[in-house]
């Protein structure tokens, strides 16, 4: 009962409050932008060379505002939003009218989830292990070498790294395709051909994210480990003659893992916003470009859909980590 009252309920309350405030902000902020979704639609059509005479433009503006549900006061639009959200309906995309937002998200989400989940977890694990050992055995030459490499890689702008990999392995040594999520003609099926095609196309994007991600996690873990090395229990363990490997793994890295778990949860929550630059450089299908286009075209509904999922994912991640943290850190249990 105490646990429910003092631990769980307050966290649940904060959870729902964060989601409510987040969605409200996402409703308001795009409407403060100078982008007019109707004007952006008209501009897209006319900028390609298609012609809409002024008479047609005048009438089309009214029609589009009606179709987009942009008539009525802001309060009415806000209430309608919540009515739709409770039904799991984000409404139609403005820019891709009348395609429902949820359909657009369903199309891109698996690619984003697949690529970013794998790369986030892989780079976290690699970074944690490498950073842990580099931090613990910091005097060794190999540790200095690895740390040096991470230090060189980390400041490289991601776009440059991604493009370099593409030029190296898709052009100079044409091992991988130039872009796309799967080979032309391969449709989604659970067979080896499709899976192999996805792996081949996803290899370079994944590599680019893992390299940068690993460098970041490595350096942060190294810093944490070096702080932990100065702790009494580590000095005591060394004095007690415990093996170095045991001290490194069970005393040092295990403690360094704790703040990194929080970091991982946050990173996993953020995967729902996609990786825009990765998607652009590698023409990889994903939520990033969908979100970017939604912002530019003032597609309020699509923006709402993507950010709502992101908000819920991050808030849920934080709630979960809050609830399971005691299992990682026994000291929390005893409070």
């Amino acid at each position: 009962m105490n646990f429910l009252k003092r631990y769980l309920l307050p966290r649940l309350l904060v959870y729902f409050l964060v989601i409510f405030l987040g969605i409200t902000l996402i409703f308001i902020i795009p409407r403060l932008m100078p982008t007019d979704p109707v004007q952006e639609m008209i501009n897209t059509i006319t900028s390609q060379g298609a012609y809409l005479d002024p008479e047609a433009i005048k009438k089309l503006e009214d029609t589009l505002r009606e179709l987009y549900g942009l008539k009525g006061s802001l309060w009415e639009q806000y209430i309608n939003l919540w009515k739709r959200l409770f039904k799991g309906d984000f409404g139609p995309s403005f820019f891709q009218f009348p395609t429902p937002v949820i359909d657009l998200i369903k199309q891109s989400l698996p690619w984003t989830l697949g690529l970013l989940t794998i790369t986030t977890i892989t780079s976290w694990v690699l970074g944690l292990i490498l950073g842990g050992f580099v931090g613990y055995f910091y005097k060794k030459k190999w540790a200095k070498l690895i740390d040096g490499i991470a230090m060189v890689i980390r400041p490289i702008p991601y776009y440059i790294l991604a493009l370099t990999l593409l030029i190296l392995f898709a052009y100079i040594f044409p091992i991988f395709p130039i872009g796309g999520g799967a080979s032309i003609g391969r449709t989604f099926q659970f067979n080896w051909c499709f899976i192999w095609s996805v792996i081949k196309h996803g290899f370079l994007p994944a590599m680019s994210l893992i390299i940068i991600g690993t460098a970041v996690w490595l350096q942060t873990t190294r810093l944490i480990v070096q702080n932990i090395l100065a702790e009494d229990f580590v000095i005591y363990a060394k004095s007690a003659g415990l093996r170095e490997r045991k001290i490194a793994l069970r005393y040092t890295i295990r403690n360094a893992m704790l703040p990194q778990i929080t970091g991982l949860t946050l990173s996993l929550g953020q995967i729902f916003s996609g990786a825009l630059i990765t998607e652009v450089v590698y023409s990889y299908p994903g939520l990033g470009t969908l979100a970017y286009n939604a912002i530019n075209s003032g597609d309020y509904n699509l923006l709402m859909g993507i950010t709502t999922i992101s908000i819920i994912a991050i808030a849920t991640g934080m709630l979960v980590i809050d609830l399971i943290y005691p299992f990682f850190d026994p000291r929390i249990r005893y409070r």
């Binding site: 639609m41 008479e55 891709q96 052009y171």
Partner: protein, 626 residues
């Protein structure tokens, strides 16, 4: 050793599965081109008749659908596609008769008849979610088919250009298949998937993620306007593919995985240096496609001080050294445009050459009884000299130079510009910077595009350099929201939003399309969305010319006289400054295919994103390479 061999074998197998196309699609029978408008967000939806943007240029307008008529800017002709001839109007333009071409079929074997056109117009009138709904509702009193190949449209009010809504110029009201669409419950949400074609290709496959679409030639291609008028399209397959970056396009072309792509000048130069089979539209410098029916330049907010003053606009024009401007923005690779229409070969013939003498004699009144003739016919010669200094092979013959760079532009005359400004109370401070008549520093913010390869970006920065040199404090604001900002009139000067003049047809001398947006009834106050031209300029003389044009057939020779008269008014008033032709850059890889339209062989607009592209395909030849 064994482990090494296993790794090597895996590697080789891995790379062997790298072919871009599916195994049953031979590369030598496939033409690969780029999708201009980006990743398709609605890949399952082929219903392009709705109000929303549906990525028409993924092959739908180029291969799948034929219009009634289509205009070609290179030949300057209107092609009758599904219509047998041009429309026939009654005397007061309240009735339009269309004759359909006989023997044309949808890809499912159903004949294309007048029923399809009647159904299309009626469907559009009934559904607000379909494009052209309001226009058709506004104009059409009645539409019917007296026989299988004739359509009669009776109009509520005269419109001598009602047929223009059916002329394909990167968009049109194209006939939809009645026998398919009449079964749809809601035409606004109907996806038309799988689609059927009136054009020579049918949908073979598409990427559910929106990066490519594969089309296959119809076995009965001869039952389409393309087949009838131009012959068999040579590629059996056409793949439209989108690469997000220029780097990918370049790599694809160098690897012969892209045959035609619309790219940047920087990308083109790399392709030409790495791929010996590649060429541009013009084989050597300036490389560009010189018949794009679009003029670029600068738009003033004519509803705002001081840009509402004609002399100020002219002063800013004379403060531009066009040679320097084009060197900075385009490395000289474009055509100068002194008039508010693109200087394509067709418009040069119809308007630029006939108005050349008028331009040379045109005078500005700069005050105190002083007159000035601003036109400079030698500007292209000077540009040619500058480009020779940069190492480009440019002809010496003035006529050839003018063919490449245009017939002239306005003089670079900062002294005259100064006089025009002083006439209206402007002055310079002690540092030579310009002050407004109220004594405040004159600051101009130019709203520009965000893409550095786009003319709307290049013009802004080239312009800023000119006006800064003249003594004005200029900043450039690049923003993705340019279209909305400019439309609402929240700007001083813009190179983004609309072009300095609405694009004309390109394939017809009628300029109604260009002048109509300047009609005063379409100008909204600042702060409201503006259906007319972004400059918010109007002139009763232009209103009168537009009204006269509305009363006559677009083929009436008087149309050209009215066009010239309006162009002269635009020069006098300079509501916007046209600077140059939109320099289209196309990279053509001749490794698998030759016979593209080029400067030496200009038989059609070469862009793969234009609907005319289907008419290019019968002229292509396979090189036989596998």
């Amino acid at each position: 050793m064994r482990k090494f061999l296993i790794v090597l074998l895996t590697f080789v197998l891995f790379t062997l599965t790298l072919s871009q196309l599916p195994p049953n699609i031979p590369r030598e029978e496939t033409l690969i081109v780029d999708i201009l408008s980006g990743r398709i967000a609605t890949p399952h939806n082929f219903n392009i008749w709705t109000v929303a943007w549906k990525w028409w240029d993924r092959g739908i307008q180029q291969l799948m659908l034929e219009p009634l008529w289509i205009v070609d800017p290179v030949t300057g002709k209107v092609i009758c596609a599904l219509a047998e001839e041009m429309p026939i109007y009654n005397n007061n333009f309240t009735k339009m008769t269309i004759k359909m071409r006989k023997g044309m079929y949808w890809s499912d074997g159903t004949e294309i008849t007048s029923d399809d056109v009647v159904f299309t117009i009626e469907a559009v009138m009934k559904n607000p979610t379909l494009n052209y709904h309001d226009i058709m509702l506004d104009y059409v009193k009645k539409v019917y088919a007296p026989d299988k190949y004739t359509i009669v449209v009776e109009l509520k009010k005269p419109n001598s250009r009602f047929h223009s809504y059916f002329i394909d110029r990167w968009g049109a009201l194209r006939p939809m298949p009645k026998h398919i669409f009449e079964r749809a419950e809601d035409l606004g949400t109907f996806e038309f998937n799988p689609p059927i074609s009136s054009g020579p290709y049918v949908l073979e496959d598409y990427d559910p993620n929106g990066y490519w679409v594969l089309w296959k030639r119809r076995t009965d291609w001869e039952r389409t306007p393309t087949g009838k008028l131009f012959g068999m399209p040579k590629p059996k397959y056409v793949l439209y593919i989108f690469y997000s970056t220029t780097e990918q396009e370049v790599m694809a072309q160098v690897r012969h995985e892209m045959d035609v792509c619309d790219t940047t000048m920087e990308g083109l130069r790399i392709i030409l240096s790495k791929n010996k089979y590649a060429r541009a539209y013009i084989k050597n410098y300036p490389y560009i496609f010189n018949a794009d029916p679009c003029v670029t330049g600068v738009t003033f907010n004519d509803a705002k001080f001081p840009y509402n003053i004609r002399d100020v606009r002219w002063a800013l024009t004379l403060a531009i050294d066009i040679v320097d401007f084009l060197k900075i923005g385009y490395d000289g690779a474009t055509v100068m445009a002194a008039l508010h229409i693109p200087p394509t070969p067709a418009y040069t013939k119809w308007y630029y050459k006939p108005l050349e003498e008028w331009l040379k004699n045109f005078e500005l009144d700069i005050g105190n009884g002083e007159k000035f003739k601003p036109f400079d016919p030698n500007a292209p010669i000077r540009l040619a000299e500058e480009m020779r200094k940069r190492g480009y092979a440019v002809p010496e013959d003035p006529e050839k130079i003018k063919e490449i760079f245009g017939i002239g532009w306005w003089k670079y005359a900062p002294d005259v510009a100064e006089k025009l400004l002083i006439k209206h109370g402007f002055k310079r401070d002690k540092n030579g910077k310009w002050l407004l008549p109220d004594g405040k520093p004159w600051k101009i913010t130019i709203i520009a595009h965000t893409n550095p390869a786009h003319p709307m970006y290049k013009n802004a920065f080239a312009l800023a350099q000119q006006w800064k040199r003249f003594g004005i404090d200029v900043t450039v604001l690049t923003t993705e929201q340019a279209a909305t900002i400019v439309d609402h009139g929240d700007y001083d000067v813009a190179t983004a939003g609309m072009w300095p003049a609405t694009e004309p047809w390109g394939g017809h001398p009628d300029l109604y399309r260009t002048f109509y947006p300047w009609k005063s009834e379409y100008m909204a106050p600042i702060g409201e969305t503006n259906p007319g031209h972004d400059s918010r300029w109007s002139d009763p003389r232009i209103d009168k010319i537009v009204e006269e044009m509305e009363k006559i057939d677009w083929n009436d020779p008087k149309v050209i006289d009215l066009g010239k008269e309006a162009l002269e008014i635009l020069v006098e008033e300079m509501p916007t400054i046209p600077t140059n032709l939109y320099p289209g850059i196309i990279a053509l890889d001749e490794y698998y295919w030759t016979g593209y339209p080029t400067f030496e062989n200009p038989y059609m607009i070469p862009y793969s994103h234009w609907p005319n592209f289907k008419y290019v395909l019968p002229s292509l030849k396979s090189t036989g390479r596998k």
